[in-house]
Symmetry: C2
Subunit: 161 residues, 2 copies
Amino acid sequence: MADTSTPTSDAAARYAALLQLLRTADVIWDASRVFFERWEVTPAQFNLLNLLADAAEGMTQSDLSRELLTHRSNITGLVDRLEDRGWVKRREQAGDRRAWRVMLTAVGRRRVADILPHYHRAAERLWEGAGPAEARRLLEVLQRIAGNAQAAAERLAGRSS
Amino acid sequence: MADTSTPTSDAAARYAALLQLLRTADVIWDASRVFFERWEVTPAQFNLLNLLADAAEGMTQSDLSRELLTHRSNITGLVDRLEDRGWVKRREQAGDRRAWRVMLTAVGRRRVADILPHYHRAAERLWEGAGPAEARRLLEVLQRIAGNAQAAAERLAGRSS
DNA sequence: TGCCAATTGTTGATATGTCAACAATCAGGT
DNA sequence: ACCTGATTGTTGACATATCAACAATTGGCA
């Protein structure tokens, strides 16, 4: 995670780009923590709220864990804390007594609506100095890398279990 | 963190690419956790060990925290656990009684040397299906985005403190 | 109908991460 | 020599993350 100078061989360039990928995600995440401080919300909490904003009927915690790429058990505490603060509520899921339907409260919905325009503006500013075609190229190569990583993880998981 | 379909406007493409960036870093991190299980090491621990492998004289914990983009206080526990397992040791830093010099033990050095070839091969496989110029373009745009995020965080931090 | 495997959410143990506060120490200027 | 401000590592409180194990429930199938 250290060398950021210009690489010489193709392999070195690929390795450097991967390190920079992880590093950039880290920097964005840290910047977003500072950004969300104004509303006393963490990035993880905002991502959950942002998902719920598009789900009028709410989502189960398993749904949330799949969308947020995080373990079921992590959602429990995340929802607990947001519920304590009155931004979300748990309602019974009709037809399945195992699951909760997690939805925004009126307050939560208002808060998310307050934050969203600032959030999109901040995201847009991260692209300063990059051309209009960059984003599409970036998206494509990132999707490929994520697919390869997913496949590698599944190969490895298949061996043990 | 949900929509991965092809975006229409430039702004939508930029937003989608950012989400994919965070998602890809997450997937890589999770895959690396599975990968490192064989050696009973976590990704965070490996990153620290990997840094130390290039520092014959060791590094202080502050040095480590700067390179790993993590808080000083996080390094304490990381080094504690690695020290308990005998992979690193703390030695006195000549000329500064506040600091430790953290270095690999002989065992730790051997373990890192065992892992590294597998690690580089696994990293290389993430690029399957991508052309040789992709990595350099990716590195460039990621550096720009990280710079912008860093600047945004500093602007925000400047306001409050 | 009744069994069994899968799913859902929670809990507890643990690792990783932040921050504020603290003691010890260092470094520079007077 | 002395004060002052910065740096170093640790601690404790907390948020976020994993996993295994558990109880409750669901759903399919013999």
